[in-house]
């Protein structure tokens, strides 16, 4: 009967309120409006919303933006804008405007907490706002700060939603909110199960929030939603610390404590009857401490047996903050499902990373592989050609302000410059050293240190930027887990392009035919009218030119320094050695293997890239044991050294 009566009174009040205009409602609660507090404002807001008056949202917004002023004498509230000591007042109900001097009016300044409450109340209006951007903004604010009260307005707003993207987002948020806040456990479980289909960070955060636990310790397992029970012996010190923190045990007596006790209780050169000179062993100290403890001068020793005893008489457990086991079980299952999906996506992402690294190594190594394969010459200055290419890009960007055009100019220019450098080097140095491969290695190394120092002298030691065009900024985001930057995609495409180009040159052109002939048997090729000198020169130029282009590509995503070549040269050698000499496909296989391996090892131990490189090199040393000539080895006479 009383319930019925109170409901009746409430309805009456609501009807009475709806009959009023907004100003009179505000006047009824004038004190709360003028000096709002976070705790009291809720009731007033509920009343305002219950009136269903169309002017409420506008008023709430203005209030929140500190644009509501109160007449000091009459106490009437106005929405107002201030300009040069005058106020343009807008009547809250009629919208009529008047301009008055600002004396005699007080601005309402709700504090941050109140503004947040107002904002929450506003959400339900914003959710049905005709403007899509405002609806989207309201949804984002819900997503940032999900609260139980938002669920009802969100569901109510679903009906009138016309924008399909926003509709999907609303449904998504409803699922998230119901998973956490729905009244009926069955609704929550249904929502949680729906969440299991998604892999977004948001979903995982929600599920983790539902599964939040707090550690506990007690003598007996309490009747609660227990997440896990721990065996304290797996980490006795940590669990004992928890026990001490819960005031269920006294701290362990550490060696430092014992030492301090010894120092504090020296009497006539003895501690507890033991001469200080003998206190250089743990056993003697224990004896002395026991005597002191028996005399009551120091607290009794808490050692390992006492610790273990205390640990064994207590249970250590985690309890869910959520009380309902059905919900936590559902959330656990959902999270497992989500994590499986995420792991799968991470594997894909790792694969993409490896592919991108492999394409960089391929670009860096293919030039080396060609020269090594055709001429049997290891070019230690190859890394410096990469550096030259990158610096070419940098210099061109100094003169061409448009980055897109600069890159388009830089690629062929870098090729031309390094091609020329390669041909010059071949003519001046390498030509004289054929049949002495080890000495070529050393001579090219001499060129390498000279070029590196030269670059240092010209460009200085600090890193120079090679900026990528704006359209290469950002990343292609497939999901929250799988994403890859556009630069890496561009490098991948470039690597594919050069793979195709080199295959075309080698297999479909006269030059390629002659190059392959010289690779197989220089003497025979020469007797067939091919000029091996010319072929060697062009091959070396081609290999160097590609290094220059690789330099531009690498410079786009890494820094340009005089030592950047050295960073890639060892990896390039590895690629060539692992892949096998004189075969484009071998280089491709080598680059894929090394790129994949490096990413794979990094994945196992992401914090330590140094260790990853170490293990990779060890792997390669072992790999060479089993395939000394690389993955794709030349067969027959061509394989002769």
């Amino acid at each position: 009967m009383r319930i019925l009566l109170s409901a009746f009174v409430f309805m009456f009040c609501a009807m009475a309120a709806s009959a009023q205009d907004l100003q009179s409602l505000l006047q009824d609660n004038a004190d709360d409006i003028a000096k709002p507090s976070r705790n009291s404002i809720g009731v007033v807001l509920d009343q305002m919303v219950a009136t269903g008056l169309p002017q409420v949202p506008a008023f709430l917004e203005q209030w929140s933006d500190k644009n509501v002023w109160q007449d000091d004498i009459t106490g009437t509230f106005f929405m107002a804008t201030e300009a040069d000591d005058t106020l343009t007042l807008t009547d809250i109900d009629t919208g009529a405007e008047t301009t008055v001097p600002s004396d005699g009016f007080t601005q309402l300044k709700p504090n941050g907490g109140v503004r947040r409450v107002i904002g929450t109340a506003l959400v339900q209006f914003q959710l049905i706002d005709p403007d899509t951007t405002r609806r989207a903004a309201a949804l984002e604010s819900i997503a940032r700060r999900p609260e139980a009260s938002q669920l009802a307005p969100l569901m109510a707003s679903l009906e009138g939603e016309t924008d399909p993207a926003l509709l999907a987002r609303k449904q998504n948020l409803i699922t998230i909110l119901s998973a956490r806040f729905a009244e009926d456990p069955a609704d929550r479980i249904a929502a949680i199960e729906a969440l299991a289909e998604e892999t977004s960070v948001e979903t995982r955060a929600v599920l983790n929030q539902i599964l939040a636990t707090k550690p506990g310790v007690a003598t007996d397992l309490p009747d609660a939603n227990i997440a896990a029970q721990h065996d304290p012996m797996t980490g006795p010190d940590g669990y004992y610390a928890a026990l001490v923190a819960a005031d269920l045990a006294t701290p362990l007596t550490t060696p430092d404590d014992i030492r301090a006790a010894m120092e504090a209780n020296i009497i006539d050169g003895r501690v507890g009857g033991v001469p200080t000179a003998q206190l250089d062993t743990d056993a003697a100290r224990a004896r002395a401490y026991a005597t002191l403890a028996a005399a009551g001068t120091v607290p009794p020793l808490v050692g390992i047996p006492e610790r273990d005893n205390a640990l064994n008489t207590h249970v250590f457990f985690d309890t869910y903050t959520e009380d309902d086991p059905a919900i936590t079980t559902a959330a656990r299952n959902a999270l497992d499902q989500v994590e499986t999906a995420v792991a799968l996506a991470q594997t894909v992402d790792l694969g993409l990373d490896a592919l991108s690294l492999a394409s960089i190594y391929f670009l860096a190594a293919i030039g080396l592989a060609i020269t090594f394969g055709v001429m049997g010459v290891i070019n230690m200055a190859h890394g410096e050609f990469i550096m030259m290419g990158a610096y070419t890009g940098y210099v061109i960007q100094l003169f061409v302000p448009d980055y897109t055009i600069a890159i388009i100019i830089a690629l062929p220019t870098a090729f031309a410059i390094t091609f020329a450098a390669g041909v010059t080097m071949e003519r001046l140095v390498i030509r004289h050293l054929y049949h002495r491969p080890l000495e070529t290695l050393l001579a090219t190394f001499g060129i390498s240190i000279a070029l590196q120092q030269l670059a240092k002298n010209i460009f200085g030691t600090q890193a120079r930027p090679l900026t990528s065009p704006a359209w290469l900024d950002g990343a292609w985001i497939i999901s929250d887990v799988i994403q890859i930057s556009y630069i890496r995609i561009a490098i991948f495409i470039m690597a594919l392009f050069f793979l195709a180009l080199i295959l075309f040159i080698l297999k479909r052109t006269r030059l390629g035919l002659e190059v392959r002939a010289v690779t197989q048997n220089p003497g025979m090729a020469a007797s067939m009218g091919i000029n091996p000198d010319r072929i060697n020169m062009l091959t070396f130029g081609l290999g160097s030119g590609i290094a220059g282009i690789a330099g531009v590509a690498i410079g786009l995503y890494a820094k340009v320094t005089s030592e950047m070549g050295a960073d890639y040269i060892v990896q390039s050698f590895m690629t060539v050695v692992v892949g096998g000499v004189g075969n484009v496909w071998g280089t491709l296989a080598g680059a894929s293997l090394i790129g994949g391996l490096q990413k794979g090892i990094e994945w196992f131990n992401p914090s330590n890239t140094l260790a990853a490189q170490t293990y990779m090199i060890l792997f390669i040393i072992l790999f060479i044991q089993f395939r000394p000539k690389g993955i794709v080895a030349l067969k027959g006479r061509a394989a002769a050294d």
């Binding site: 200080t276 491969p437 290695l441 050393l442 050295a566 260790a611 490189q613």
Partner: protein, 388 residues
């Protein structure tokens, strides 16, 4: 036997005589034992140079005589340095810790001493526990054994793997380079147990000789380095002069042919590779107490390449060539980079040798490789006409 060995190799006698004369001269002129015309730091530089000459002759044997261009011998040098450095650092820290603990009322337990030493040594890498590889650090004898054993074992395992699968030529060079790179990257990690990129420091202070002035210590190490170089020279000259030396040089000239003659090419190569690695380790163990500090940067691939440069400039295939190359290039290098060389003013540009020395070195290296494959040592051929 000894007589005929010397008789067949007069250069050994000449070298030992020159080395002896040089050592005697430096001792006479040094601060500790003589007139004080040579500063302590320069005595150290000379001592270090002698160690570099020792690893250079090892490099010459493995490359110039056996034809294995190893780009990883500085890894063995570094391992030797680390092995002796561990003892030096441990023993010295122990002395310091014991001194600081001595004043206390309660004598320290062995555990406390060990913890305090660990804290001192590994504080920089945020740890205080002794890693397993420091197990023998308190024993000089065991660490000296490590100086020989660690490089020897590494070279043995690596060489066995590499030679067994007939990795030769450029491939082997790259592989040895990978080995030294892997080692230096490993040591750069803080949890490698050897203080990461901080390396080991304070090695110039010899435990037990705190009162001895550095001038005396430097001359002692100088003499020890000179002795090691002389002994190493004699040993390698003996190794390469006998029948074995002929086989080894045969392998350099035509490996397949030697194999077809029935020799176990792999065993010979493995022996040479390992023995030179051990000598490199000893050279390192003598070098780093004079340098005072060792860090993983010392064994970066570039160091081993410079080693090849020294030997090439000095002249491969003759032991004194390696010595000349190492001494000449490393001293010249420190003269140029240390600002010893006067800058050249060209009017429009001033050549500062600290900047341009590497360019000069690189280019002159190319020139030597191209036109003087015999290096500086080749000049002696004009002086001494060997009876053919």
């Amino acid at each position: 036997m000894q007589n005929s060995f010397i008789a067949r190799n007069p250069s050994v006698l000449w070298f030992l005589a020159a080395l002896g004369l040089f050592t005697f001269g430096v001792t006479i002129l040094s601060e500790a034992t003589g007139l004080g015309l040579i500063s302590t730091s320069f005595v150290k530089t000379l001592g270090k140079t002698l160690c570099l000459c020792l690893i250079a002759i090892a490099m010459d044997v493995v490359w110039g005589y056996c034809g294995i261009l190893s780009l990883g011998h500085f890894a063995f040098f570094g391992i030797g340095g680390y092995a002796i450095g561990m003892w030096l650092m441990y023993a010295r820290t122990e002395t310091i810790v014991l001194e600081s603990l001595a004043g206390q009322n309660i004598p320290a337990t062995p555990q406390e001493i060990s913890d305090a030493i660990g804290n001192q040594i590994f504080g920089v890498v945020g740890s205080s526990d002794f890693p397993a590889i420091w197990a023998f650090a308190d024993s000089l004898v065991l660490q000296l054994a490590m100086v020989v054993l660690m490089p020897g074992l590494l070279a043995l395992v690596f060489g066995w793997l590499a030679f067994r699968s007939r990795v030769t030529g450029v491939y082997l060079s790259i592989l040895t380079q990978a080995m030294t790179l892997a080692l230096s990257l490993y040591l750069f990690q803080n949890d490698s147990g050897l203080r990461g990129n901080n390396g080991l420091s304070g090695l110039q202070n010899i435990p037990g000789f705190e009162a001895t002035p550095q001038a005396t210590i430097s001359i002692i190490f100088f003499l020890a380095s000179a002795f090691a170089l002389g002994a190493g020279y004699l040993f390698f000259a003996w190794v390469i002069s006998g029948k074995m030396g002929s086989v080894v040089q045969g392998i350099r000239d035509n490996e397949a042919r030697v194999r077809f003659l029935g020799y176990q090419v792999e065993s010979y190569k493995l022996f040479i590779f390992t023995i030179t690695a051990i000598v490199s380790g000893i050279a390192g163990a003598l070098y780093y107490p004079q340098a005072g500090i060792i860090n993983p940067g010392e064994i970066a691939p570039i160091a081993s390449i410079y080693l090849a440069v020294w030997v090439a400039i000095g002249g491969r295939g003759r032991l004194y060539g390696a010595v000349i190359g190492a001494a000449f290039v490393s001293l010249l290098s420190s003269w140029f980079t240390g600002g010893g060389a006067p800058n050249v003013n060209l009017g429009f540009y001033t050549i500062q040798w600290t900047d341009w020395w590497l360019v000069l070195l690189g280019l002159s290296f190319v020139v030597v490789t191209l036109y003087f494959p015999k290096g500086i040592g080749g000049l002696f051929d004009y002086l001494v006409r060997k009876p053919s």
